[in-house]
């Protein structure tokens, strides 16, 4: 953290386990995230579950910590909720660990925790355990949050990246690239005067309504890092199939498209934080699509392609000219380019 404001800052002592730690937990974390399990303040959260469990963990680092449409708090909650949802699970319980840089403004911490809490409420999950560590100035870039989560998978649901079959329809839940551009547009030198919002959102509800509509949803993935290009390539490889996507059917916001033109970025490689890709048996595709469009986070859902038989796992784009080109696994980071 380079800036310090008038308000109070996090001290190393806040992470020492002493009175300041207790104070911080009480005044910031418990106040915002309170629930019957967390409030017990035992060393472990005790929950009762029965059935197929989905269990996942994700670390969240983002610069800037606050971006249009979200912040690291909301991001770290939705990221883990979405990983659970992509297994077809109903997300239930979350643990969160905060690594905070000494000198971090207390106000900002409160904003981040409260945003995490709001997202938890929206996602219908409880934050049942947590941890806070403070590291010396310079040892972290403001704050890192790691969240893990548990969810319950209904008995008849079998969703996997290796389950895509030839003939399946490929559906995306809405516009692509919003989060990536929202983050990039806040970096130094971009100076867009238009605000592009991140799509950061919990997708458990959307997945539940898709599964209500059909049990022939075979694969779900949220195209985060590496974007749609990475996700489709992962699924093609895991399922041993080819995926063909019609380029003109992929939905983009016009500002995102414009930013990509200006900066020379490929929107298919940009991160999304509130979108999913679904592979659904052809005969149920319209049913699932209908259910998605009923949902706020799936209103822009469209079919973008289909799965094909193939000896080699491949992802193809059908271009405007009607020709097929390979959409390969992205290499390296996406940066503004001049050529």
């Amino acid at each position: 953290m380079k800036t310090e404001r008038g308000g109070k800052n996090i001290l190393l002592a806040h992470g020492s386990g002493g009175r300041l730690t207790q104070e911080l937990i009480g005044s910031v974390f418990r106040r915002t995230l309170s629930n019957s399990i967390l409030d017990k303040m035992d060393d472990s959260a005790v929950v009762q579950l029965d059935g197929n469990l989905a269990f996942t963990i994700d670390s969240h680092v983002v610069s800037p910590l606050f971006f249009p449409g979200g912040d690291i708090g909301r991001l770290s909650l939705t990221g883990t909720v979405n990983d659970l949802a992509m297994a077809g699970a109903e997300p239930l319980y979350i643990c969160a660990a905060f690594v905070i840089e000494e000198g971090f403004p207390l106000d900002d911490l409160e904003r981040i925790v409260s945003s995490l809490g709001l997202a938890a409420g929206e996602a219908g999950v409880e934050v049942v355990a947590g941890d806070t560590k403070v590291v010396e100035r310079g040892a972290a870039d403001g704050m890192f949050i790691t969240t893990s989560g548990i969810g319950l998978i209904p008995a008849s649901v079998h969703i996997s990246a290796s389950a895509a079959r030839p003939g399946d329809a490929v559906i995306v839940s809405g516009t692509i690239g919003d989060h990536g551009i929202a983050i990039l547009s806040k970096r130094q030198g971009m100076d867009f005067q238009t605000e592009i919002k991140s799509d950061c959102a919990p997708l458990g509800g959307l997945v539940a309504s898709m599964l209500d509509a059909s049990r022939r949803v075979r694969t779900l993935r949220d195209p985060t890092r590496g974007g749609l290009a990475a996700t489709l390539n992962e699924i093609a490889a895991a399922s041993g199939v080819a995926i063909e996507v019609d380029e003109s059917s992929i939905p983009y916001r016009s500002e995102v498209r414009a930013a990509c033109e200006l900066l020379g970025l490929d929107p298919l490689v940009l991160a999304n934080e509130g979108k999913l890709v679904a592979f659904v048996a052809r005969r149920d595709a319209d049913k699932v699509l209908g259910a998605m469009r009923e949902h706020a986070y799936g209103a822009g859902a469209v079919i973008i392609g289909e799965v094909q038989e193939s000896e080699k796992p491949r992802v193809y784009l059908r271009t405007l000219l009607g020709s097929r080109r390979i959409l390969s696994m992205p290499t390296g980071e996406q940066l503004p380019r001049i050529c």
Partner: protein
Amino acid sequence: MCLAVPAKITEMENQIATVQVGGLSRQASTVLLPDAAVGDYVLIHAGFAISLIDEEQALETIRLFDEMTGGMASGGGGA
């Protein structure tokens, strides 16, 4: 080489233009294109306006395409 994108100048002050591309706006320098004015379409490269887009020429090109396709395609922009 050289990515350049058509953008419309919406404001201008001291050779710094506000330009718009597809609902997105940012600033660009017009030092290399001193005659550019508000309302003009220009090509933006690396934060600079480098060339004025000639509307008549653009329409002429579109008209040629239209002729070739038997006038069946408006091409999205008739004006």
